[in-house]
Amino acid sequence: MSTVSVTAPSQIRTAGRTGPLGLFRDIGIVMTRELRPLLHDPFSVIFGMVQPLVFLGLFGPLLVGSLGGQAGTALGNGGVWQWFVPAILVMTALFGTSTTGASLLFEFQTGAHERMLVTPLSRPSLLIGRALKEMVPLAGQAVIIVLVMIPFGFRLHLAGALVGLALLAVFGIGLGALSYALAIAVRKQDWMFWVVQQTLIFPLMLLSGMLLPLETGPGWMRAAAQLNPLAYLVDAERALFAGRIGTATVLWGWVAALVTAAVGLAVGVRAMARSAD
């Protein structure tokens, strides 16, 4: 245990450190580190899926019972599952990525984040790498849900589904980044994280038309939904999973997802730069 030849530290990096190349490398390192626990313990993807699965199992059948007869009117043609499953995928993204900041909060407490801040890793990479990683569990969760629902009569339009998955991933990056930004903002009163997250998540969910069609709601609700990026996302996912790829609805979904991602990353990177104090 004592005879050690120490690797020459001369190979320690000096080149390729700065500039975009260095940033990509750093993002890759952070992302790989974040993905490792998932790789060792793949079943942990189930963790973020509990709520969506509860809704799928306990709310879905109610929808079938109460709205089933209206298929073709409010829900468009294709039946309740065709309408509900894409929304559940968005719900998975919502619950999974909005809670991800809690892991960073924990690293603040232990000192793991401090250790990363002293390394030459660029500050933005510490956030971007984490946010990008959100795509992976999200994609895994979406695939599981779709596969589970096929035996119940859910019909899959493969091309639309793949685009839908990509759309979800972009949105997940944005929401994940916002979740990390929230964690950084409240790091000195960490209980605030859950207060804010819970306070925001349910209005966002209900005002997106995820669970019930907004068309039957009052006017003010429909107006509020117009300001909710999640509503555009839900509509776009429904269109995509019905195979309608080249529509304006889908385009608006992309706008909502890309804006969320851009805002999330910008806010998150700024927060990360000030996260040492």
Partner: protein, 334 residues
């Protein structure tokens, strides 16, 4: 290697309360030095290290670390230093070996070199059997060893260690030191560390910086500090209950000061304890003073701290383990 000038750092805790954690620290450390920073809890050791490692900005003052300004060129500083913080650096959901590999790749080792370096450090810090364990499943001391291993991955030219050995058993402390000292010799590493283990600072560091209330109150080699500030002490008792004749003899010893006579017991600081004691015994025999027991206490850094501040670093513990010592005036807590 380090040139800090009048560093201060305030923490605003609430509108009415500001903590002056560091109140003007100036410190020069040359390449290759091994410096131990000592001080009681809350003295400002960690805060000073966090400023020098670019984690927090000083409220005032400047510091150049590894040739770069900590405020204006933090990225340059980070590239040249290593830091093992007081907390746990490893992520709890990660595996031991993975964290070491990640650390290697952060500092630009390719995959193979990172793996090799990780294996070396696992071996050196006796972690090999735990390599595939999750960090959350490690004991406190095992986690601490992993923290240190991560700090050593890239063999930095300047290494900061904030209480590296806290929580380690004696075997692992010795292991850790062996490794730090070897790396230091091989890479001419400069090491700055904090510790609450007096013996560690005493035996390992060539230079001891004592910090109290956010200020440096002493800065010298352990030997010089002890000789200058504490000195050898003798404690002698007589058979019977009057030590005053003995105290008069003690007073005549070379370098004798602070002679305290207390019942049948005399204690004093003397220039050279081991030489003074036989001399005293001869004088006592000649003067027919019946000496019962005689001891020499050589000073520790704790005595140095006591002499400097009037407080003991060992909280709640009497500094010499003798209840009567508590009566001497300098033992009264400030």
């Amino acid at each position: 290697m380090i040139d800090a000038r009048s560093l201060t750092r305030d923490f605003v805790v609430s509108r009415s309360q500001t903590v002056h954690a560091v109140r003007g620290i100036s410190l020069r450390i040359e390449p290759g030095e091994l410096v131990a920073v000592l001080g009681p809890n809350g003295a400002g050791k960690t805060t000073t290290m966090r400023m020098l490692t670019t984690l927090i900005a000083p409220t005032s003052g400047t510091a150049t670390v590894a040739g770069h300004d900590v405020v204006r060129q933090p990225a340059q500083v980070r590239r040249h230093i290593g830091y093992v913080g007081q907390g746990n650096g490893a992520g709890h959901t990660q595996r031991v070996r993975d964290e070491l590999n990640t650390q290697g790749s952060i500092y630009g080792l390719d995959r193979r070199a990172a793996r090799q370096r990780a294996a070396e450090l696992l071996d050196a810090l006796d972690l090999t059997e735990l390599a595939t364990r999750k960090v959350s499943a490690l004991s406190g001391g095992q986690r601490r060893r992993l923290d240190v291993a991560m700090g050593l991955v890239h063999g930095p030219s300047l290494l900061f260690l904030d209480e590296p050995s806290t929580g380690l058993d004696p075997q692992n402390r010795a292991n850790l030191w062996e490794h730090i000292l070897r790396m230091r010799a091989e890479h001419e590493m400069t090491v700055v560390l904090t510790t609450h283990y007096m013996d560690e600072a005493d035996s390992m560091a060539e230079r001891v910086v004592v910090v109290d209330h956010g200020e440096i109150i002493a800065d010298d080699s352990a030997a010089t500090l002890k000789a200058k500030l504490a000195g050898d002490r003798i404690v002698v008792t007589v058979a019977g209950d009057d030590a005053r004749p003995l105290a008069r003899l003690v007073d005549r010893l070379p370098g004798a000061r602070d002679v305290v006579c207390d019942g049948n017991r005399v204690q004093a600081h003397v220039g050279n304890g081991p030489a003074a004691l036989p001399e005293l015994l001869r004088a006592a025999v000649a003067a027919d003073v019946p000496v019962a027991t005689a001891q020499v206490h050589q000073p520790t850094l704790d005595d140095v701290f006591l002499a400097l501040t009037g407080r003991s670093l060992r909280e709640g513990e009497n500094e010499h383990g003798n209840p009567q010592d508590a009566k001497t005036p300098k033992d009264v807590p400030a």
